[in-house]
Symmetry: C2
Subunit: 334 residues, 2 copies
Amino acid sequence: MNHLLISDPTLRDGSHAVQHQLTMDHILFYAEHAEHTGIPILEVGHGNGLGASSLQLGKSLVSDTELLVQCRARLTNTKLGIHVIPGFATINKDLNNALDIGVDVVRVASHCTEANITKRHIEYSRNREKEVFGVLMMSHMASPAVLVEEAKKMESYGAQAIIIMDSAGASLPVDVHEKITALVHHLDIPVGFHAHNNLGMAIANSITAVESGATILDGTSRGFGAGAGNAQLEVLVAVLHKMGYQTGIDLYRLLDFADQAESLFCTPPHISSVSVISGLTGVFSGFAKPVERIAKQYNIDPKDVFFELGKRKIIAGQEDLILDVAIWLSHHAK
Amino acid sequence: MNHLLISDPTLRDGSHAVQHQLTMDHILFYAEHAEHTGIPILEVGHGNGLGASSLQLGKSLVSDTELLVQCRARLTNTKLGIHVIPGFATINKDLNNALDIGVDVVRVASHCTEANITKRHIEYSRNREKEVFGVLMMSHMASPAVLVEEAKKMESYGAQAIIIMDSAGASLPVDVHEKITALVHHLDIPVGFHAHNNLGMAIANSITAVESGATILDGTSRGFGAGAGNAQLEVLVAVLHKMGYQTGIDLYRLLDFADQAESLFCTPPHISSVSVISGLTGVFSGFAKPVERIAKQYNIDPKDVFFELGKRKIIAGQEDLILDVAIWLSHHAK
């Protein structure tokens, strides 16, 4: 198959890069240009998805409802997508409201070994006749066999595609090849890949995913996203077109659009030393800011904190562990 | 072979990023830290190499002689390297002077199909008992067979290693694999790779080069270099160590060093839309600035200029062609 489905989470993953303070002006500029450029799916919302705006995770400047209503009004050919993590997004309030507003694509996500928490949200969205993808986050923490098992659960709940996320940017092409190949082999639904660039591999891993049979890829303008950022959409599309794949996206418009988006808010991320360590240790890059803050407070090297968190296999929601590790290191480090 | 030789051209390729205005303070900071971090080779000089400081290519703030004398005084275990393009660097004046000052590694470079211009410079440097590498630039413009032929010329002149440069960042891993494999198979000397990041492939291409048999890699702090930049050294070393290769570089020190270098002068490059087009069309990223300036002047899209320059296979030294193409496009474009 030569045609790929591109999903653009600039207004969702990029939200992490500005502590969820995207303005309505920037959001609407982006939505209008996404439509004009032929972006197939535009994913919007708080960095942690629907219903995640909170004191603990950071309040969004623009509420889910405002955001979805305004984007809905501007998108016709571009589908409106949301990222939904059960636990943050309730069915009765958040999901129901989003579906009423007219979201097209619901991507229900869990940690890579926790697919069972997605059952009700997937079923509910399918019953409402929405397009539903299952998303396995932090996929570097599970073997191909475990990913297949978890993906099959999502498939059985009704997911129409499975996306694996390399949330910590910890994967090398050889890992992506192995995992995508296994998923494509064992599933009857399309498979996709969402990259982060901590080890400089976002584009290479995305291309490897496609060569291994994936047909859905995520990318953001200038790579705008958490930590070291995502696969840079305009680079990804250029390389895919060069390789003979079709995306339906107008590359010239996309390049100009990315220049404008950069001048407004899509500040290009770079790979900081902490991001490299995040990728090396497999710890989610979203932890970089608290790790740096707490390491400074305890006068220890943030790299040591990351290595220790990696050993303890920290996952989202375990932010308290950062403080524990910092205290432990400040007592035990040489 | 598990041990790789890393050469760091931050103070040479990075010179392009600041129009050759690196200050002596920054240079000395960098040289001292390179030594402390265990960088095997530090390559210094004007972006276009020894003797290239000129009104046309840009004057260096610090002269070759000052730079080499001061760096020489600070390096013990780290070897001092220079980039030498015959035509810019004369033997009698520039090369002789550099060798007198005590350069350790002389990298004699030509366009990938012009190896014969390197004969005298390679022979002269070998006669002076220096370590000499042959460098083929813009390697995406030649087939594996042609690269082998040109590399063999350099080997016959006395080159002790061959480096191919992906000067326009136009190569994908499949291209790098093919070319490095051919060179390793046909040469009796080590082979190396120098990446640019226009298509987001600098790290992936470098890793592919190593997996194909290359044993020498170039990388710069934060990727500091022409256009979209080089392989980011601290990312490269992290990935190589993760894969089980040895570099002799202290990764923790390197990460801290890169943070400090960034705060002083190694501004992380990003992949601009023009850089993407440069990579797609195979036109040297060093042309980006004149192309943008001239396109603006003639009110045409710089992307169109790049595509046309790519079709006409522009190479270094043919800067006049940019103006010709701009005039031609301004008359012929719709």
